[in-house]
Symmetry: C2
Subunit: 380 residues, 2 copies
């Protein structure tokens, strides 16, 4: 059975002082439904990816809330949460539902409302993605967790702060070509290296921002008129939340497991992939992603950046949307935005950042410091 991306919708990523969580979800969802051409009453189910609705907006039960706001027909609807992988998990859930044959059209919406809140509240909410007893309680936040991983990677493999900076520079180069990006501005390695230090070696421009935004797709078992993009595989892996319990600090086993399953199911090999969106919550995470997914040898991903090979018009286009760094990271929306970006690339709708002849795309969405990963592979 084929599962098609029948419609896509996405708000601007950034600060929406005039929009609430539900407003953002509504806007992206309506756009996706309209693009799909499917009447609202035929949407069988709604899956919402969201992390911080409870802690920041005092709002739970988003499945029913969003379905009702949209005027749908009392459908099956629920929220999934796996920290920053919530959007990817929502896609995986919809794919699973459609595979049963009991559903025809499922709306997936990822949404997050992070601005309009005190920064320590946002930081504390995000820290729920860490192991509270073993990490959060002691004051560890996500920049510090990823900083430790980066330190180890640089020590083991000889990468430098400039190598990390190159990830941000490339993502801002792409983001400057994406009208939906939160920070659509080009930067230089100097911008990164002279920015405020957040947690050594990570500086402000190594870190993805706090963002509001929503992204939605309608997945369908019926091929729509205007799209032939279909999902070949969507697979997940998990690992411990606490870094101290992991086998390795410089690779993400959950991502390796998810990638292994997704490549096996789709019979695609890394060399077949034309465009990929990976989870660059911090610059170091993009290097891990390319190694965990099999696009670079262990400890050598940064060489691709030294050689300029990850730009949209190069061998291995990575994060043509601008990634989490430049496009923004409204947590629950990110995994869905990734699918929209590769879909638009495969449809030739990616404007100034269009990858030539893209036939196979891959998304990689990570929760926390790597406890959850969803890898999805699509083709035209």
């Amino acid at each position: 059975m084929d599962i098609f991306v029948a419609g896509t919708g996405m708000t601007q990523f950034g600060e929406h002082f005039d929009k609430s969580l539900r407003d953002l979800a509504y806007d992206a969802s309506i756009e996706a439904i309209e693009e799909s051409g499917i009447e609202k009453e035929y949407i069988d189910a709604v899956v919402v990816g969201n992390m911080l609705g409870d802690t920041l907006s005092a709002q739970g039960q988003l499945g029913a809330l969003i379905s009702s706001d949209l005027g749908l027909n009392n459908p099956e609807a629920f929220r999934v949460e796996a920290a920053c992988a919530s959007g990817g998990v929502a896609i995986k859930r919809a794919v699973t539902m459609l595979k049963t044959g009991d559903y025809q059209h499922v709306l997936v919406v990822g949404v997050e409302k992070m601005s309009d809140h005190k920064s320590y509240e946002v930081t504390a909410g995000l820290a729920n993605a860490a192991d509270e007893e073993k990490e959060g309680f002691y004051g560890l936040t996500f920049p510090s967790l990823y900083a430790m991983m980066a330190q180890r990677y640089m020590y083991d493999f000889g990468a430098t702060p400039e190598d990390l900076a190159r990830v941000a520079v490339k993502n801002h180069y792409h983001g400057a070509k994406n009208p939906k990006a939160q920070f659509p501005k080009e930067i230089t390695t100097e911008t990164v290296l002279k920015s405020t230090e957040v947690a050594t070696p990570l500086r402000l421009f190594d870190c993805s921002p706090i963002s509001d935004g929503a992204a939605a797709v309608v997945l369908s078992v019926r091929q729509p008129q205007d799209s032939s993009v279909k999902i070949m595989a969507s697979e997940m892996g998990t690992d411990s939340l606490a870094l101290e319990e992991r086998e390795e600090l410089t690779s993400v086993k959950a991502a390796q497991v998810a990638a292994y399953k997704a490549f096996s199911k789709s019979k695609v090999r890394p060399g077949d992939v034309d465009v990929l969106e990976v989870h660059d919550c911090f610059t170091i995470a993009e290097l891990f992603a390319l190694e965990d997914l099999g696009f670079a040898e262990r400890g050598r991903a940064y060489e691709l950046y030294r050689a300029g090979k990850t730009y949209f018009d190069s061998d291995l286009p990575v994060n043509t949307s601008g990634g989490l760094k430049s496009c923004g990271h409204p947590v629950g929306a990110t995994g869905v935005k990734q699918l929209i970006e590769v879909t638009h690339q495969l449809q030739g709708r990616a404007g100034d950042r269009q990858v030539k002849n893209a036939q196979i795309g891959l998304t990689h969405n990570v929760g926390g410091s790597g406890a959850t990963c969803v890898v999805t592979i699509v083709t035209n």
Copy 2:
């Protein structure tokens, strides 16, 4: 394809001052896995039903956390949330996964840790199940929402406070026979009618308590040696969160939709059901349940209680576990506990509250004031 309840596990419901959220989930899960006889490495996925981990325990990403604590093999794992229906939604998700044929054994664990927190924090966390913009912001809490529904029901249909009290009396009668119950004590209608008024007409003994607890099941496509209980249907419906947007105050459309789908799929009729667990978060909700599910005519469910017909040894055994009222209501665990109770009834393992010759069981799990409902039907 048949989907079997291969193993069940459940902590005591009540106050666990020495156990955290993850401890409770671990205890129930290990018990369910051991009862199933399935080796841990063959558990393909973990679905966690939880509402308040973020707001009360500063802990998200529970799928990966619990899988890792259990020593599972980096499986697919995620949390679902639909307020108090989170456990039921988790079951529905697992059923959907197994129906694809891609999974053999899925662990479902519902868990909540509500004590050890300030009561206003718990009340605020639970209020996230309401529409924050239209209800929560104005101070509406769940006792007040259900109180309004109860007022309307009593006005329209002539039910009295004594009728509501009879629901609690019956559930405590059952709970007194359940070793896992939080309040295993019989009460009288006078106990209820003389208890503190919470929100007119609801008194303290009309309300389910604040509870800690976890309940877990292993669902499997392979028939286990010791059980033939299988899931015939698990279906969902939704409606608006805000009462002001509903068509009716005295019935729950989400439940009617879920019941219609579940009865249609299973080809079971209400008259065929031998035992049912329904969502009595407040006494009035049990009356709604019986009417929405088709076990009583609209506005007449209370007559069944006047006639004593809902006891375990009567025509229509309802909430033999003691229900949310006497057994306790650790929110995310409730929907899973309901499935365990009907499973044990069908297996003849329900001890002093055993229903004779129970062949078909039904569970009814509601989120908020009725925005989400999951109805699951099982048979022997």
